[in-house]
Amino acid sequence: MSALAKNRELWLVAAIALLVAVITLRFPAFARPQNLAAVFNDTSILMILALGQMAVILTRSIDLSMASNLALTGMIVALTNANFPGIPIPLIILEAMAIGAALGAFNGMLVWKLGIPAIVVTLGTLTIFRGATFVVAGGTWVNADRMSPAFIALQRGEFLGLPVLSWFAIVAIIAFYLVMTRTPVGRSIYAVGVNPSAAVYAGIDVGRAKFIAFCISGMVAGLCGYLWVSRYVIAATEVANGYELNIIAACVIGGVSIAGGIGSVGGAVLGALFLGIISTALPVINISPFWQMAISGTAILAAVILNARSERKQGRIILKKAEAA
């Protein structure tokens, strides 16, 4: 039992391997390295978003506003680029991350200072941010011919044989891994989720840890705002509409516990990959895309049931013989 718990990621890897194997049976070219690299690239944005969401869920909160944040930030940077094509792209990326983080901080402040439950706050900002997208754009959209070539080209460039977009994901994965496992901030995010009252005893400010998690998820959503609009070369109000649930689903499949405190960078990435493979592979193996939703729903349920089994609380043991056994 505990071995299973420890190897949550291994289980996911096995599930993904199985999935790839099944797809490969029907469509041999799927398992080719180039194709797998392409799948990874296609899933990059979802992976990055899932990492941000994970940080929030770990603190026993939830961020429903990520997709709207993405749309709003994406729109603002697209407008920036359309109006000031001269601004270098790295600055645009910084802008995206800063705006996203600011929106996340807004959520975080309401949760921290007013103590409003995260689900209520982000349910509100979910609609506010998306509405704001429409307003800042004046009801219009930004398409390819208004974006500068560099804006579109950056993530498509190749570096060491991989598209730059994939590198964004790789850097994000490494950064999250380091932050979540090797920094006090990351560890306090875990601690707050595992046991908030014990966190207080350990000298951690619970509200502040939640605030930081929201800033992180916001920053990540902002970054993905840029990546999204430049990838699909369109910034519009309905960009990523309803995507927040995909992000949460990726986390859940990846073994991030909605009750907080449990989840790993590897899990979130694999959960996103699992969803990514399903959505990219179904068209390839000629399964009607109409099956996609039911499959991911089943995957979520399976993941929750599996995770719940490994999380079952173990009681205190009084009888000495029972403890020895």
Partner: protein, 336 residues
């Protein structure tokens, strides 16, 4: 505290303190009524078309279906659980009705199948949550994809249409003059839910579970059973809503009622139900439904794009919840 004195004649404890008017004035419902009245007045001033029986009647269609689900969802949230799959249940129930239609079912049969499907979906959620002890938010994110996914598998790019004329009554019919069947049903259901929540022992148990599930269990409340019933009720109401929407649209697509779940939950939270469970009232939910209907319809009359109204609703949600907290911070008494 006073010393050791075993008072021979116990002092009488009053049932309740003389109900202070202040309490009623500062209640959540009062706040909502004020907001509702304000919006009503603003709407009447802003648009010459608002104060008109048919307009007001059309307005109700903006919230009746979601409101019906919100009634059951309110109970579920008070008990500390949530159901994100209600919109998907609508889609699946509508699809089942469509299949039954193809098989030649008549109107009563269609209604039974729609409501029955909703009930079964709710029971499925309830079983997963109470039987396996899983967190409802995740379970229903999963079943949300599953239920709608099944609708997509069955229907694909097709649509079911050709519902019998008698079926159209539920979503398009009027009971009397401008009073639609949907509105009548909503008001009747609100009355029933108000009664169940505030006037029956079942409702009392729902509150007890939401406030302290462990203590409730210790006090002999069968928590799992109550929650299971609540999931079934929520599914059932989604089934009812599905009948209404299908009737109103006269057709079924798997994408029907997309995104309704968040609107329903917004309604419930705006209605003063604590998302953490344990507190809330049906009156609040009904008022919140009315407010959301008036806001969307009022903005619609002014031809404000829907997306702009959603900003307003989002702000309303956060402000209505934040203001009392800020108020307490600024002028607050310390908790007794």
């Amino acid at each position: 505290m006073s010393a050791i004195e075993t008072s021979a004649a116990p002092r009488r404890i009053p049932d309740r303190l003389d109900t202070p008017l202040k309490g009623a004035v500062l209640s959540w419902e009062a706040l909502l009524i004020a907001v509702a009245v304000a919006i009503f007045v603003i709407n009447s001033l802003a648009s010459p078309y608002f104060l008109n029986a048919w307009s007001l009647s059309d307005l109700t269609f903006n919230f009746t279906e979601k409101g019906l689900i919100a009634l059951a969802m309110a109970l579920l949230i008070i008990s500390g659980e949530i159901d994100l799959s209600v919109a998907a249940i609508i889609a699946l129930a509508s699809t089942m009705m469509g299949m039954a239609l193809q098989a030649g079912a008549d109107t009563p049969m269609l209604v039974a199948i729609g409501i029955g499907t909703g009930l079964l979906c709710g029971a499925f959620n309830g079983l997963l949550v109470t039987g396996l002890g899983l967190p409802s938010i995740v379970v229903t994110i999963g079943t949300m994809s599953l239920f709608r996914g099944v609708a997509f598998i069955i229907l694909g790019d097709q649509a079911f249409k050709g519902y019998p004329a008698s079926f159209a009554f539920f979503g398009q019919g009027y009971v009397w003059w401008v009073v639609s069947f949907e509105l009548t049903l909503f008001l009747a259901a609100a009355l029933v839910y108000w009664f169940v929540l505030h006037r029956t022992s079942f409702g009392r148990r729902v509150f007890a579970i939401g406030n302290n599930p462990v203590a409730a269990q210790f006090s002999g409340v069968r928590e799992a059973r109550v929650k299971f019933i609540l999931f079934c009720l929520t599914g059932l109401m989604a089934g009812v809503a599905s009948v209404l929407i299908t009737s109103r649209l006269g057709s079924t697509r798997p994408s029907i009622a997309q995104g309704y779940e968040l609107e329903v939950i917004t309604m419930v939270v705006l209605g003063g139900v604590s998302i953490l469970g344990g507190a809330g009232s049906i009156v609040g939910v009904v008022l919140a439904a009315l407010i959301m209907g008036m806001v969307t319809f009022g903005f619609g009359l002014l031809n404000v794009p829907g997306i702009v109204m959603s900003i307003f609703i989002g702000l309303l949600l956060i402000l209505v919840i934040a203001l009392p907290i800020i108020w307490r911070r600024l002028f607050g008494r310390r908790p007794a």
